[in-house]
Amino acid sequence: MFYLTPRKEISLFFTISIPVISILLTIIFGFFIFSVLGYDPGKALYHFFMSPLSRLDKIADLFVKACPLMIIGTGLVLCFRANIWNIGAEGQLIMGAVFAGGLALSFSETQSLWLLPAMAIFSFIGGALWALFPALLKIKLRTNEILVTLMLTYVASLFLDWLVRGPWRSPTSFGFPLTKYYPDVGLISKIYFPGIGNISQLHWGVFVAILICLLCWFAMEKTVFGFQIKLIGDSPQALRFSGFNESKTTIALFIISGGLAGLAGMIEVSANIGQLQPNISFGYGFTAIIVAFLARLNPAAVIISGLLIALIEVGGDSAQIALAIPKVVTGVFKGILLFFLLAGETLTKYEIGFNYHQKSSLND
């Protein structure tokens, strides 16, 4: 029988050493697993950790991969801090992409530079509306937002599927479920570095994502609104005593997190795909939940945790391609890494106590 008790103070030594130990343990376990399965462990680990960091363009790809995770993750952090469990970011992402896509496809001949900002706003509205349903249901009818947001994800996903197979399908797609391409002004351009040119796929959306994370951090730490968020999560009664309106704050948080997820969907499509198709997200909305928690619910730390998750994803792909390691094995390895990181996180905050003195009466 063991139990966890919160540490009274968290020492600097622990804060630094535990993540290092977690990663070392992952490497040791990974080494073991890859050897047993007959892969060269050195090479496998190289592809997981080193290869994605080995060249500038590969690092740039990490940022591209992390971009939607950062934008969604930072919005979710605000929600989760307030004990609001919006786990339907995937659906909000899709609706954001649909709203932006609808606009781009309606003005497919336009040359106006206003199209892109308008798409950004539309995508925010789309995601926010998709989050507003569960918000209103929660406030008016006290429904559980976890269920409602999750179920709406499937609705959004099927809605997009219908659109691209039906009314929005491009006449020139040879029957494939694809829309027309967006006009050029509806695409996000790659960042041009003077003297270097483009670095792989690195686009301006990444810049926006980092900016949004920093803005959310500022809102959380330096504004009265951020204080409201902490209050609603910690003590709704104190929130009312303070004179804030609980329902308004809740709705605002759903709108922000949903809107940001929508924006992430628009950026993902406009920067990487250029048209709508049945699958525009690879579970970013769900992965962002892990990103948010890995960042210890700190909106700025989402930048780091987003990159870390991106590293695992890209490293896994790289190992699959280079060594023909099956997807399930890379999945196991990802799991081990997350397990050690989160266990380390828990051990930083809590200490384990063992109870030898007597058997627990629960087992009597």
């Binding site: 003590s235 104190a238 009312r240 005593f241 004179g243 109870n355 009466s361």
Partner: protein, 511 residues
């Protein structure tokens, strides 16, 4: 006394938190069937000590002996297995469960629900504690919750019952009931460790008392042999200061006017407020007495604006403004201050720093916030001012509210409101669970405020407090407010009768 065998003994028990020595070599013993007082100010180390007895904290040093045998109490469950029960100052009940479910959770053995209900009813009849086993905890008042806590301990047939500041929430009559319960218990051979800072109680019901100051035992005395003054001196170290006299002239300006205030009950267990009328003049302190659960928290929510209605309230004017529909936030802007009874999670947030707790009621102040951005420097300055001015003792600069003792946190939240010099101030239980020194200083600041012309309503179950503070007192009973009477016309017996629902002025009416 000493012929009884020793039940629990502690030798050289010490506990340190970092560099802070909360308990320093405590030598203590309690005899079988004895009611033993543990007396000391907040922060003297009483709670730390009993938490070690109950297995919630591990001693840094020293040993406990149970019936002469050396023991280690590592967890509360082990303490319960020895026969140690504890009733906490802040209750440990689950609000969303019923009385019976809460009790079931604490028991080591499983009982069928109907069996447990019978046992509860039998125990509550035996000791005169009335509680409905099927009611939800969230629907009980603080006083009623305490009864559940006591009952829960009694079901485990304890040999030692620890009571942490049990009377701080009770009326004199309720306290008397509690004392008779405790006396019955001690006759059955159960020892009781009674923690309090109220000298009269210690004197009244304990046989011996151990006095703690700054983590050390000052002395253990036979309470019959010492006076309350001697006890106070041992506890505080010097004579406590007295409450200031009131000097305010009653100007006659009515600052607060309430009439026809009705509030229907939100749930079957809440108290409906019934046609309440109330005026407060400038410089007046209006005391509202009453037993917990008679509508105090409901009334406080109406005063603060956490509950508001234009339909159910005929008049609620402050300084000539109709504030029936004003949010707490708008009321503060008008110069209304208010402070609910519960510190934890209502008037203060325990997991937040003091600066953030300052922000709680100052977020609309342009000095603190502009364009929604918090000006941290000014916020820190204001917090430091409150801490300095109201003598809030903090372990370090800007700690989390949780690291302050109850008394110091209460000084902080009272200070936070008073420093704004409100024109009208509504406060509930301003000194609940607060030690003598802090109590005096809080009461003095309330009197200062009234002397400056502020109109104050104090809702309190502590009659001693109302007698020290109030000019006029009315009593809240089952959601009805009695007429306000000047202090001179009342004594604690008369108020006690009003609190029990007796109408003083129409003798013909019964209960």
């Amino acid at each position: 006394m000493t012929t009884k065998p020793v039940l629990l003994e502690s030798r050289e028990i010490s506990k340190s938190f970092g560099s802070f020595l909360a308990n320093d070599g405590i030598n203590f013993n309690i005899l079988e069937g004895e009611i033993h007082g543990l007396l000391g100010e907040n922060g003297a180390g009483k709670s730390t000590f009993v938490k070690m007895v109950y297995g919630l904290l591990e001693p840094s040093n020293g040993t406990f002996y149970w019936n002469g045998k050396k023991i280690i109490i590592a967890r509360p469950q082990e303490a319960r297995n020895f026969g140690i029960g504890m009733v906490f100052q802040h209750f440990t009940l689950f609000p969303t469960l019923t009385v019976i479910e809460n009790i079931q959770l604490a028991l080591n053995d499983y009982f069928a629900t109907h069996e447990l209900r019978d046992t509860i009813n039998k125990k509550s009849a035996e000791f005169g504690i009335t509680v409905d086993p099927d009611i939800y905890i969230r629907d009980l008042s603080v006083g009623e919750q305490q009864r559940v806590e006591i009952l829960r301990c009694l079901l485990q047939n304890p040999k030692l019952l620890i009571m942490d500041e049990p009377t701080s929430v009770l009326t004199p009559q309720e306290s008397e009931q509690l004392f008779s319960v405790l006396k019955k218990l001690s006759k059955t051979g159960c020892s009781i460790l009674f923690i309090s800072h109220k000298l009269k109680e210690i004197k009244k019901i304990t046989q011996r008392a151990t006095i703690l100051r700054r983590g050390c035992v000052v002395s253990t005395v036979e309470t019959a042999d010492v006076s309350t003054e001697q006890l106070a001196k041992m506890m505080v170290g010097s004579n406590p200061q007295n409450v200031k006299p009131k000097t305010a002239k009653k100007s006659g300006d009515i600052l607060v006017r309430i009439s026809g205030l009705n509030r229907p009950a939100d749930n079957p267990f809440a108290t409906a407020l019934d046609n309440i009328s109330l005026n407060v003049k400038a410089g007046e302190i209006k005391g509202i007495a009453g037993i917990a659960g008679n509508g105090q928290s409901e009334l406080m929510e109406v005063l603060s604006g956490e509950w508001r209605s234009t339909e159910n309230i005929d008049v609620f004017n402050v300084l000539g403004t109709d504030i029936r529909n004003y949010s707490p936030h708008k009321r503060r802007q008008l110069g209304v201050g208010f402070l609910p009874e519960e510190r934890h999670g209502h008037s203060a947030v325990i997991n937040m720093k003091l600066t953030e707790n300052t922000l709680l009621t100052n977020h609309n102040n342009p000095v603190i916030q502009r364009n929604n951005i918090v000006k941290n420097e000014n916020l820190e300055k204001l917090t430091t001012n409150i801490v300095d001015k109201y003598d809030v003792r903090t372990p370090f600069q800007n700690p989390h509210a949780s690291s302050l003792s109850g008394g110091n946190l209460q000084k902080f939240v009272v200070g936070r409101e008073i420093i704004k010099k409100p024109k009208v101030f509504f406060v509930a239980q301003p000194t609940w669970g607060v030690d003598i020194g802090a109590t005096k200083s809080i009461r003095n600041s309330l009197i200062d405020l009234a002397n400056d012309g502020c109109g104050i309503i104090v809702i309190s179950q502590d009659l001693e407090e109302l007698f020290e503070l109030a000019d006029n007192i009315c009593v809240l009973f089952r959601g009805k407010l009695s007429d306000s009477k000047p202090l001179q016309e009342l004594n604690s017996e008369k108020i006690g009768m009003l609190m029990g629902g007796e109408d003083l002025y129409s003798e013909s009416q019964g209960h």
